[in-house]
């Protein structure tokens, strides 16, 4: 059974919470006591229908203001797949949450209000989905019930988005459009009887049909060492195992590897999981690797294939960055950079540009980046990081910046 992670994004009031509530409701993911709680809460609000948005608007402040202020994780499953939805708020000031929620997603669900069509937020969301290299985008034109399920209205919105979509997508990204009504369950898991003119998949059908991630096993092999296992017991006297989660590619027993940054080479003697020997392991597997020779390897080092001459070691490089903190990014200040499990000091030598993700333009001569702003930077690190170009190998190309004094995660970067 595989796991598909979805990020949802929308603007205020375009019905995102209702859409998720509907998905849960129609996949039988809500138990009777929760539905009863929903009924009484809906009644208290004076509504004569089930307010499915109450299922996900979890925090006291959110219920008071009727908005979503943080990333919530929601789960449902079908017989073939487990789904994890990162429900992220669509307010301008919460772009940071959107990037956060989308960072693990393979599918981005973007909601558009059928009455309003394209708004500023739609452009922002498409740009972020592209920056994060999310392979699949589904644009849901919601609230079709409020435009009398009018096909012309749907087609017009689709047409108005065409040029924007063309500007933002990258090769390999699939974008599809769906007319839906979350409130009335049209085209969510069941075909829309109110829209006979629509012949495509339902939303769930689209998700179930999406194939993903197997390409990760063919990406360059990268194994960041998290922890060195040395039991020093009688049975495992000289045992030295390198524990970690393969970030991309495939490793096999017998592969000649190189440890970075030291450059020492050795051969994989075994790949194990809880003592069980494997002949190979792929991206996403948490394993223990042992080598045929004693090599000096510690946490933060990376194993790559010795044949991989391109394996990168970066100390001075360019990146896109999304700023996540109230205190603006300032060049010259030292931050801690975390790439995978590797931590090193970093200095931003220059901000090269600020991107306007709505207008799709950029401005130079920038001296700071504020919360929710996206830009280009040049950085230098104290120790080299073993990161790939994000667009080529997303699972080994991102890093976070941590403020040394507040310890907050203040930025997320994507190696250019």
């Amino acid at each position: 059974m595989d796991i598909l992670r979805i990020a949802t994004a929308g603007s205020v009031d375009d019905g995102k919470s209702t859409l998720i509530g509907r998905l849960l409701y129609e996949t039988n993911s809500i138990t009777k006591d929760k539905i009863e709680a929903l009924e009484s809460a809906s009644k208290r609000k004076g509504l004569d229908f089930l307010d499915l948005s109450l299922l996900t608007d979890g925090l006291i402040a959110e219920r008071e203001q009727g908005i979503t202020i943080d990333v919530a994780h929601i789960y449902f499953s079908t017989p073939t797949r487990k789904y994890i939805i990162a429900d992220t708020p669509g307010h301008v000031e919460y772009t940071r949450n959107m990037v956060t929620g989308a960072s693990n997603a393979k599918v981005s669900l973007i909601l558009v209000d059928a009455r309003q069509g394209l708004v500023e937020q739609t452009a922002r969301h498409l740009s972020i989905a592209a920056l994060l290299r999310i392979p699949k985008v589904i644009i849901c034109v919601n609230k079709m019930d409020l435009v009398q399920y009018d096909q012309a209205k749907f087609e017009a919105i689709k047409a108005s988005l065409t040029s924007l979509v063309a500007q933002t997508t990258f090769e390999g990204q699939a974008v599809s459009f769906l007319p839906i009504s979350s409130l009335f369950g049209q085209n969510i898991t069941q075909a829309a009887d109110k829209m006979p003119w629509y012949q495509g998949n339902t939303l769930l059908g689209e998700l179930e049909a999406f194939e993903f991630a197997e390409s990760l096993a063919h990406a360059p092999a990268r194994f960041p060492v998290q922890w060195v296992i040395r039991p020093k017991t009688e049975e495992y006297h000289d045992y030295r195992g390198y524990a970690g989660k393969i970030s991309s590619g495939t490793f096999r027993v017998g592969d000649v590897i190189r440890a970075l940054p030291t450059g020492q080479e050795s051969t994989i003697a075994s790949i194990e999981k809880f003592g069980e020997p494997l002949d190979h392991a792929v991206a996403g597997d948490s394993v223990v690797i042992t080598l045929t020779t004693d090599v000096d390897i510690s946490r933060g080092n990376s194993l790559v294939l010795a044949s991989d001459a391109q394996a990168p070691q970066l100390k001075d490089f360019a990146a896109h960055i999304c700023w996540l903190d109230h205190q603006a990014l300032s060049p010259g200040k030292t931050y801690l950079l975390k790439h995978g499990v590797n931590l090193t000091k970093a200095k931003i030598s220059q901000i090269t540009e600020r991107l306007d993700v709505v207008a799709q333009t950029s401005s130079q001569n920038v001296d700071s980046l504020k919360l929710n702003e996206i830009g280009g930077i040049q950085l230098r690190t104290a120790q080299p990081i073993m990161a790939d170009v994000y667009a080529q190998n997303p699972s080994n190309g991102a890093f976070i910046l941590i403020d040394e004094f507040s310890n907050s995660t203040v930025g997320v970067g994507f190696v250019k």
């Binding site: 039988n28 009777k32 402040a61 919530a72 039991p231 524990a243 809880f274 003592g275």
Partner: protein, 306 residues
């Protein structure tokens, strides 16, 4: 849900979840000086112990198991706890809510809904201070409850153990930032992304031992608010609440005073999973402590609860 889809979901554990949780366990060991695994004897914390074993094998689990004993636990849970610690060779630390009460730091609740669930927080915070734990691993899952759906994997708490939903650090990709100031500590939730069904399927696939009260057995119970409560010396009963024998099991294991039983004949794990899939009551619906108010969990978390 039809029976055929129910059958399809049994024994279907998404293996990637285990890989992610093992990764988190290793990050805890590497990033913190004095981590601990908070062990309650329930299925979620038993799952955590298995994940910790796997993460460091053939080495030992490099942190202790800590149990905050309310004194109102099911005896079967305590027995199981001691067995598991022995079985895994892990260090076990037990601290008692009764001691906090004796020291005047916590006050026993009164009335028919009295429980020690809220009192645990006091003992937990004292234990964290006593051992200077900087990270406490817990078995909370985001699917349990709405406030938990917004919880991070590394959840930073201040000196008073408090959780502030608005001050949470963003967690991007799988990078976990465990840096904290002196006095702060982190609650870590390695099975955040598991659902109740995932846990049960994992227990089944891994052939793990669990306390006997999860399976059907005979027990003296009373009926209250449409639920079955285990009769015990700790339960404050009203005159008309007469205990009777029933065939029950527990879906979740908390204190005897705040965990409701369900009527069930299930003695095999497959049947339990089927019951969960067709259940009409969600898992936390059987936790009486959450019913106090709609925002009960969020309020307890702000005060340092798990």
């Amino acid at each position: 849900m039809t029976n055929s889809t129910i059958k399809d979901k049994i024994g279907q554990f998404p293996r990637k979840l285990e890989d992610e949780s093992i990764y988190i366990m290793r990050e805890v060991a590497a990033q913190f000086e004095r981590p601990a695994l908070l062990f309650s004897g329930g299925k979620d914390s038993i799952t955590l112990v298995r994940l910790a074993q796997k993460a460091f094998f053939p080495g030992k689990i490099p942190f202790p198991l800590v149990h905050i004993d309310t004194g109102h636990n099911f005896p079967e849970t305590i027995e199981f706890r001691d067995w598991l610690a022995k079985e895994t060779g892990a260090e076990l630390i037990v601290r008692y809510v009764q001691d906090s009460i004796n020291q005047g730091k916590a006050k026993e609740e009164t009335g028919k809904y009295a429980s020690r669930n809220v009192l645990q927080t006091v003992t937990l915070l004292d234990t964290i201070e006593e051992f200077k734990f900087d990270a406490c691993i817990g078995g909370a899952r985001r699917d349990e409850e709405k406030a938990r759906a917004k919880e991070r994997i590394f959840s930073v708490r201040d000196d008073f153990g408090q959780w502030d939903a608005k001050r949470q650090r963003p967690e991007l990709f799988d990078m976990l930032n465990g840096r904290i100031a002196v006095g702060e500590n982190v609650r870590v939730f390695p099975i955040s992304n598991w659902t109740e069904l995932d846990v049960w399927n994992y227990i089944k696939e891994e052939k793990m031992e669990i306390p006997s009260i999860y399976f059907s057995h005979q027990r003296q119970v009373i009926e209250r608010d449409g639920m079955l409560w285990a009769d015990s010396e700790y339960l404050n009963k009203e005159a008309d609440e007469i205990p009777f024998e029933a065939t029950v099991r527990f879906r979740t294991v908390g204190d005897m005073t705040c965990t409701a039983a369900v009527e069930s004949d299930a003695v095999e794990i497959d049947v339990i999973i089927e019951e969960i899939l067709s259940a009409e009551i969600s898992e936390r619906g059987a936790r009486i402590d959450d019913k106090r108010s709609e925002a009960a969990m969020e309020k307890r978390k702000q005060q340092g609860y798990f």
